[in-house]
């Protein structure tokens, strides 16, 4: 790992030298050199149908010159670096003035070098196939689909203000479903460590859910008390991150967030913290700002929103380390948020039947009549300010009666204001077991327990 990072620091340094040569010492430049080794073994109909790997180094250069700013990137090292510098310098000189340029990140070391598991780095196609085989074999003969992946990212950052940072991360993740003719069940997990991902455990759980949700009944839409498993709660985190805690949306009043206000139930705490040993993520952002522990919501009170250097300057505060390549246009977002339970986190264990684990069953036991929801699907924003979202349930829904899971239910469509669902008094319980869910796109890594909510607004049934 260190060799890779040293090489990347060398590349970053070389790009800064080239910028100095091409544009003079007055140019403000930042360079991120990142290498990703991604391997993903995908299965469907219980066989491996796609099996891919790639190893790519990206160099990203942001340049501020004579009051103007432009960004360029390339995958071509060697002579490609000079091309990158030359065209970015040319583009910068032709760009309009950028009066809001916030300056470069000053020298400030990251809190950690990131969490790397050497076994994940070294994982072979055969090891990935073995985990897929274990998932399929554990799924009681049901049709299965999903993937197992390993991901190693190393990165180095340098800017002309003297900031230099390097780090790396690994992720091993599995996401699979088991299917019957009338139902699907899912199990997912992400971890820094390859050894944490047991295909057999996940295949067993997915099959248990699928078998328990066969021949579901259709219930009328309406307001239901719900227990949302971790997979569904992560969808809340993702949408809160994208639209609610987006620093740009906040500054433009397109977010519901009001700092210092008790906007959530006191059981709600949202934190981003890559300094823990099991955190997935690099220890600095694309502007080189070191990551730190950030509380977005603490005991129901909205504390901050995500900032990069530009939105932080506009808001009169400091960057939270949430810059990403598209942050200038879309806004900075916390892609590594965790919902922290109010009490101590507890180990859990698998249980028979459809619930993901014992901590879910503890929440189910308190429900007189409601629904257990495994997963949300295809959620989209109707209006970002109240954060009204529509989407569907997926991979297993059951009726809960008097604390017992009684009947499998067909999928619903919902239309729900997410902040309202977690408003003061709306959260009736938070699970004690945190699950890291694999992200679908980019570098997101959300972690969540199950939650019990007083009401969820289902607006359509399976038949429309």
């Amino acid at each position: 790992m260190s060799t890779t990072v040293d090489t990347q620091l060398d590349v970053a340094s070389r790009v800064l030298d080239l910028v100095r040569d091409a544009a003079g010492s007055g140019a403000e430049a930042e360079v991120l050199v990142s290498r990703q080794e991604l391997a993903l073994t995908r299965f469907a109909n219980s066989y491996i149908h796609q099996n891919v790997a790639d190893a790519v180094t990206h160099v990203r250069l942001r340049l501020h010159l004579e009051g103007r700013t432009a960004v360029g990137s390339s995958t071509q090292l060697g002579d490609g670096l000079r091309d990158l510098v030359d065209r970015t310098v040319a583009a910068t000189r032709l760009s309009p003035l950028d009066p809001g340029w916030p300056g470069l990140t000053p020298p400030s070391p990251p809190p950690t070098s990131g969490n790397v598991d050497e076994a994940t780095v070294a994982a072979t196609p055969d090891e990935r196939a073995l985990r897929v085989r274990a998932f399929i074999d554990a799924a009681s003969g049901l049709n299965t689909a999903g993937y197992f992946r390993t991901n190693y990212v190393s990165a180095a950052f340098a800017n002309s203000a003297g900031q230099s940072a390097a780090g790396a991360m690994t992720e091993a993740a599995m996401d699979g479903i088991a299917r019957t003719a009338t139902s699907d069940g899912v199990a997912r997990l992400a971890s820094v460590r390859l050894a944490d991902i047991d295909g057999s455990v996940l295949g067993t759980r997915a099959a248990a859910k699928a078998l328990a949700s066969q021949n579901p009944v259709e219930l009328p839409p309406g307001q239901y008390e719900v227990v949302l498993e971790s997979d569904a709660v992560v969808d809340l985190l993702r949408n809160f991150a994208m639209w609610g805690f987006n620093g740009k949306a906040y500054l433009e009043r397109r977010s519901f967030a009001q700092l210092g206000e008790r906007q959530f139930d006191e059981a709600v705490t949202f934190v981003e913290d890559v300094t823990t040993p099991r955190a997935l993520g690099l220890p600095f952002d694309v502007e080189g700002t070191p990551k730190r522990r950030v509380e977005f919501v603490a005991n129901g009170v909205t504390r901050t929103v995500a900032h990069d250097r530009r939105t932080a300057a506009q808001a009169g505060t400091e960057s939270t380390g949430n810059a990403h390549p598209a942050a200038r246009a879309f806004g900075p977002i916390p892609l590594g948020m965790t919902m922290v339970p109010p009490g101590p986190e507890m180990p859990t264990e698998e249980v028979a039947g459809p619930a993901a684990d014992l901590s879910v069953m503890a929440l189910v036991s308190g429900v007189r009549r409601g629904l257990l929801v495994t997963d949300f699907w295809y959620t989209r924003v109707l209006d970002p300010r109240p954060l009204v979202i529509t989407g569907l349930t997926r991979n297993g829904v059951w009726l809960i009666e008097d604390g017992e899971i009684t009947t499998p239910v067909k999928n619903f469509r919902f239309t729900q204001a997410y902040p309202q669902a977690l408003a003061p008094g709306a959260v009736l319980g938070v699970g004690t077991h945190l699950v890291a869910q694999p992200g679908d796109w980019g570098s997101e890594s959300f972690v969540a327990p199950a939650v019990r909510l007083g009401s969820w607004n289902f607006t359509g049934g399976a038949s429309g």
């Binding site: 993903l40 299965f43 469907a44 109909n45 219980s46 066989y47 491996i48 149908h49 796609q50 099996n51 891919v52 790997a53 790639d54 190893a55 790519v56 990206h58 700013t69 432009a70 960004v71 360029g72 990137s73 390339s74 071509q76 490609g80 091309d83 583009a91 032709l94 760009s95 309009p96 950028d98 196609p125 196939a129 085989r133 689909a145 999903g146 996401d175 699979g176 299917r179 433009e252 009043r253 397109r254 246009a329 699907w377 295809y378 959620t379 109707l382 209006d383 300010r385 109240p386 529509t390 989407g391 569907l392 999928n411 469509r413 239309t415 204001a417 679908d440 796109w441 399976a462 429309g464």
Partner: protein, 478 residues
Amino acid sequence: MTHFDAATAAVEAALAAGARYADARVMHRRHESMNARNGEIEELTQNEDAGIGVRALVGSSWGFFAVPDLTAAAARKAGATATAIAKASTGVPGPQVDLVAVTATVDSWASTCEIDPLTVALSDKGDLLSRATAESRKHGADVAEGIYQIWDTRKWFVSSEGHRIDQHLRECGAGISATVVGESETQRRSYPSYRGQYGTRGWELVNEIDLGAHAARIAEEARALLTAPLCPQGETTLILGGEQLALQIHESVGHAIELDRILGWEAGYAGTSWLDLAKLGSLRYGSDLMNITIDPTIPGALGSFGYDDEGTPAAPRHAVRNGTWVGVLAGRDSAGVAGLDYAGSVRADGWSRLPMVRMTNVGLQPGPHTLEEIISATEDGVYMDINRSWSIDDKRLNFQFGCEVGYEVKNGQLGRMLRNPTYTGIGPQFWQSMDMLSSEIVTWGTPNCGKGQPGQVGHTGHPAAPARFTNVRVGVRG
């Protein structure tokens, strides 16, 4: 070493390592985008990437490997690695894969382009966006945004069957939007559509859409929406504008007819399809007015190409004829598994991603009416256009869309503006209720179609025109 040489070396190495079929794509892609906000340029980005992706088939198992290094040694190593990955796949084998036969072609193809978008001065492009967004801001937008995007892609494809094809695609497009912020909500109007209009064309496309001429209107309409009455709730006659119908086609027809979904290959993520292959040729998808084609040959459309990423030449085909489902989007392996004799719809998002079944241009053939005639013939209903939100289930049946703007339709005339218009339904029921279709076809470009694991972004085109649907549930809200 030429790019063809690199691709050939990769294929030969894959075969030498034990593959029974292999192909390789060298790709060089340039992407430029610019964002403007409230009259100022926010960001100019110019990305460039190049590399080689190799696909190897061992028995009936695939492997894929990609690297950005285009030397002979790296290409050979990539080919051998793709085969090694395919061999690992044989540990969890599937059914026999017989690729549908395609003539091995040696050819060169380029999209048409009058004005190379990368040669247009950055200052001119910046002026266009800054002026348009300043105008929107002046007319009431709290947030006025503009964007253009340009892709310049060159591909060199070689297969072990003898393909040797190079292609040059130039794509671009642009759009503006105006957002206003109320006490507890936001409203947005966009032109020409949300995220803009895109095509496999040059900068002439951007010149034609004339962003500046619409900047004031969208801001004023967004402001007016804040105080407009809510879209009523209930079942009614729904008239959709062409832009919204394009997304309706994309989500409830285009994805549903992807053969990999129908075969269950996407079950773990994107989902399956409600369509059953046993009913291909007989299943009623929609009304007699519904004629959907798969056509990657439409000049200038965003889903057009000369050859797909398996070397299959572009060719038009019906997906739905007079309301009956008759065709799918297929690749050589999926078609082989399904017993079909055509492919041609496989593409990859760059050299580092596996080619997979993607939409090309999937859209409606024109109907006999005009929008004016449709509105005149409607006693009571709602007209909606320009997408604001979209959601559909994993079988592509149960959908809910929100539009930026709605209008009452009363006694054959457009009435009051309506805010937060939404509609929901079940795909085949909805399409069977289409009783009027306009002839005013526009081919809309969708540059952001997500699919696959790892995720890939696809570019698709959708010919669409205004149409009328009966007994549709509208006004769903939280």
